[in-house]
């Protein structure tokens, strides 16, 4: 009942962390959940499972890098459920060609990864703020990464975009704190999700990542999604501009 009466948009809601967040939000009795994604098949399945269990969810096709798509998504949210309280900017992209050093990163890959991972977050916040103001406040939850906090041997564009999400979140927190709109970032460590499935299927990759994680296991989508529930609920009413790192001890090292 922690989200009773609240309406949420979850971008990238069709799989992984986003889908887990939608399910947990439904379990906490959110009044409406917009499962927003480019993957219609997965998103429709997430929404219908929630509806069959007595919740309220709607799938919307959303390319987060498209500003007019965001306008439509927010308008549909408000016309369907009457308000907006929570936006989880979760849609993310990690291209295999993006796991490269600076010299080997093409401008096209750089642009595409920033379009989803950074511009998508900017647009999601930009268009959520007005309806949140109408609701008397709201919670913006931006999924960054431990790669937004530290460097690694590759993943140039991903580090850049996720690092920018971290600080863009703090800017939003300061700008909108007086209006009761909170903004926080979540920094997942290595986790088994749709986005990492291919990489983790390569020999040795998954074991190497677990080896680097003090707790000795991969994160689950639910591990991260519980953080979303906390930041979405009124339990975090004095928390804004903060970073919630959920990484099994990875960056404490």
């Amino acid at each position: 009942m922690r989200l009773k009466g609240k309406v949420a948009i979850v971008s990238g809601g069709s799989s992984g962390i986003g889908a887990a967040a939608c399910r947990l939000f439904a379990g906490e009795k959110a009044a409406g959940i917009i499962v927003a994604d480019i993957n219609a098949e997965g998103g429709l399945a997430v929404a219908s499972a929630i509806n069959e269990a007595g919740g309220q969810a709607t799938f919307i096709h959303l390319d987060v890098s498209d500003e007019s798509a965001w306008r439509d998504a927010v308008a549909t949210t408000v016309s369907t459920y009457g308000r907006l309280d929570i936006t989880v900017n979760n849609a993310g992209l990690s291209l295999p060609e993006g796991r490269a050093r600076i010299e080997e990163t093409s401008l096209a890959v750089w642009d595409e990864m920033h379009a989803v991972n950074l511009t998508g977050v900017f647009l999601g916040m930009k268009h959520s703020i007005a309806p949140m103001r109408e609701s008397g406040g709201g919670s913006l939850i931006n999924i960054s990464s431990i790669y937004g906090l530290v460097g690694s041997i590759g993943s140039t564009a991903y580090h850049s975009a996720k690092g920018a999400v971290r600080n863009l979140t703090k800017a939003a927190a300061i700008q909108y704190a007086p209006e009761g709109i909170r903004a926080n970032s979540i920094h997942p460590g290595f986790a088994d999700t749709g986005m990492t499935a291919k990489l983790h299927a390569q020999p040795g990759e998954r074991a190497a990542r677990i080896g680097k994680t003090p707790i000795g296991r991969m994160g689950t989508p639910e591990d991260i999604a519980w953080g979303c529930v906390y930041l979405a609920s009124d339990e975090s009413s004095f928390v804004t501009g903060a970073e919630l790192v959920i990484d099994g001890g990875m960056v404490a090292q």
């Binding site: 703090k170 007086p178 994160g219 339990e235 975090s236 009413s237 004095f238 928390v239 501009g241 404490a252």
Partner: protein, 257 residues
């Protein structure tokens, strides 16, 4: 009721954030041992915990005294059968100019805020390690990563708490124990009443003015409430946060952003 059947120990439980944490843990179904150096203040908290249908246990303990800390821990284990959740929360503050800080001031603040956090954490972790699980949550502060005029020792002690939290988390990661810290910003508590009074004396400003001025600088334009810190505490004490360790969570209305 995400903590049904759990056993918790909170130090500095008589007032402020510690009290709010104890009450919130009780709301979630945990039995709560309340430790404080001022036991006379605990009866009220215990009554409030009991009303929620769980067990309370009052313990007089000065956490800086190893023998008292040990009997505190043993008392919880013998009464509740173990410790699942430990809030290393007791803390002290003194507002004074840098040039006025004496060695005994340094020692007292460091003993309570850092040394006791380390050694109480060590003693509780020894017990938790045998059981293969546990949650240790230390109280740090927004002051941990900021310069704090007239509170240099306090700020240093809290930086130490953040550091110890990280190191303990890694060393204990494979034992099933997670270690995290809370970092409250400006919270409406007895400790802030003391800071306000001491700052007022030092700077010759009226009672309440330091607190009001400082609160007006928070992006949210208000101080936090102890229950808002206790909400994070409940999250860190529950299985919802099982993959979080070594972290310091800020509850500060945007102050550190």
């Amino acid at each position: 009721m995400k903590l049904s059947g759990k056993a918790s120990l909170v130090t500095g439980a008589a007032r402020g954030i510690g009290r709010a944490i104890a009450e919130r843990l009780a709301d979630e179904g945990s039995n709560v041992a309340l430790a404080d150096v001022r036991k006379e203040l605990l009866a009220d908290v215990a009554a409030s915990v009991d009303k929620k249908g769980v067990q309370s246990l009052m313990i007089a303990a000065d956490v800086t005294q190893p023998t008292e800390a040990e009997s505190m821990i043993n008392a919880v284990i013998s009464n509740f059968g173990g410790i699942d959740i430990f809030f290393n929360n007791a803390g002290v503050v003194k507002v004074q100019e840098f040039f006025d800080v004496k060695e005994e001031d340094w020692d007292h603040i460091m003993d309570v805020n850092l040394k006791a956090v380390f050694f109480c954490g060590q003693a509780v972790a020894r017990h938790m390690r045998k059981r293969g699980h546990g949650k240790i949550i230390n109280t740090a502060s927004l002051a941990a990563n900021r310069g704090r005029p007239e509170m240099a020792v306090y700020a240093a002690s809290k930086s130490g708490v953040v550091s110890v939290t990280r190191s303990m988390a890694i060393e204990l990661a494979e034992t099933g124990i997670t270690v995290n810290a809370l970092a409250p910003g400006i919270i409406d508590t007895d400790m802030w009443e003391l800071i306000d009074a001491q700052s007022g004396d030092l700077r010759h400003v009226a009672k309440g003015e330091t607190f009001r001025n400082r609160s007006s600088l928070i992006p949210m334009k208000r101080p936090g409430r102890p229950d808002e810190v206790a909400n994070v505490a409940a999250f860190l004490a529950s299985s919802e946060s099982d993959y979080i360790t070594g972290q310091t969570i800020y509850i500060d209305g945007g102050d550190s952003a």
